[in-house]
Amino acid sequence: AQSVTQLDSQVPVFEEAPVELRCNYSSSVSVYLFWYVQYPNQGLQLLLKYLSGSTLVESINGFEAEFNKSQTSFHLRKPSVHISDTAEYFCAVVNTGFQKLVFGTGTRLLVSP
């Protein structure tokens, strides 16, 4: 079975600073990886996903994540954050031959002026 670890439960940063949200996964087989964002009192929205091909994937709002197979990581980065990026971010993994998405415990990104 696969699992996901998000070591940071909360990451406080100042506006316009860079940020990295860490995600490590464990699986004995190939996986697909996802980052979801949850704004307060809302459902989850897909931010970006890695299925195959280029190991660097980008979202439309400036986030990017890089799949690193040797380190079993899929860290999320943004070079300059905005107040509006304040939200909870979930990393998720699914076994390529399976249908159940497994989530990490989430990282709360707090952006202050």
Binding site: Y32, G43, L44, Q45, L46, Q99, F103, T105
Partner: protein, 114 residues
């Protein structure tokens, strides 16, 4: 396009009461899921379904039941509500295996058991 719709959005239950969380999707997706979200615990899979008439347990099925009589609907039943079931519940759907296709989430149902 409504996507995944959950009702009710908020509900307070007394211990021992029963209720059903409704979930419907209008995307003709085969796969549907119920997750619960607890602070600091991420999302845990309760039940899932790969098509009408087929359901299976996830990580935390105890205290819940589901049915899938149609492609569109996947209700979650709590028979004897307990305080441990206080949580936020998310229904989700996907066209098939979560591979090249995205899983779509509803907006959540906040349930408090007192």
């Amino acid at each position: 396009n409504a996507g995944v719709t959950q009702t009710p959005k908020f509900r307070i239950l007394k211990i021992g009461q029963s209720m059903t969380l409704q979930c419907t999707q209008d995307m003709n997706h085969n796969y549907m899921y119920w997750y619960r979200q607890d602070p600091g615990m991420g999302l845990k899979l309760i039940y899932y379904s790969v098509g009408a008439g087929i359901t299976d347990k996830g990580e935390v099925p105890n205290g819940y039941n589901v049915s899938r009589s149609t492609t569109e609907d996947f209700p979650l039943r709590l028979e004897l509500a307990a305080p441990s079931q206080t949580s936020v519940y998310f229904c989700a759907s996907s066209p098939d295996r979560v591979s090249g296709n995205t899983i779509y989430f509803g907006e959540g149902s906040w349930l408090t058991v007192v």
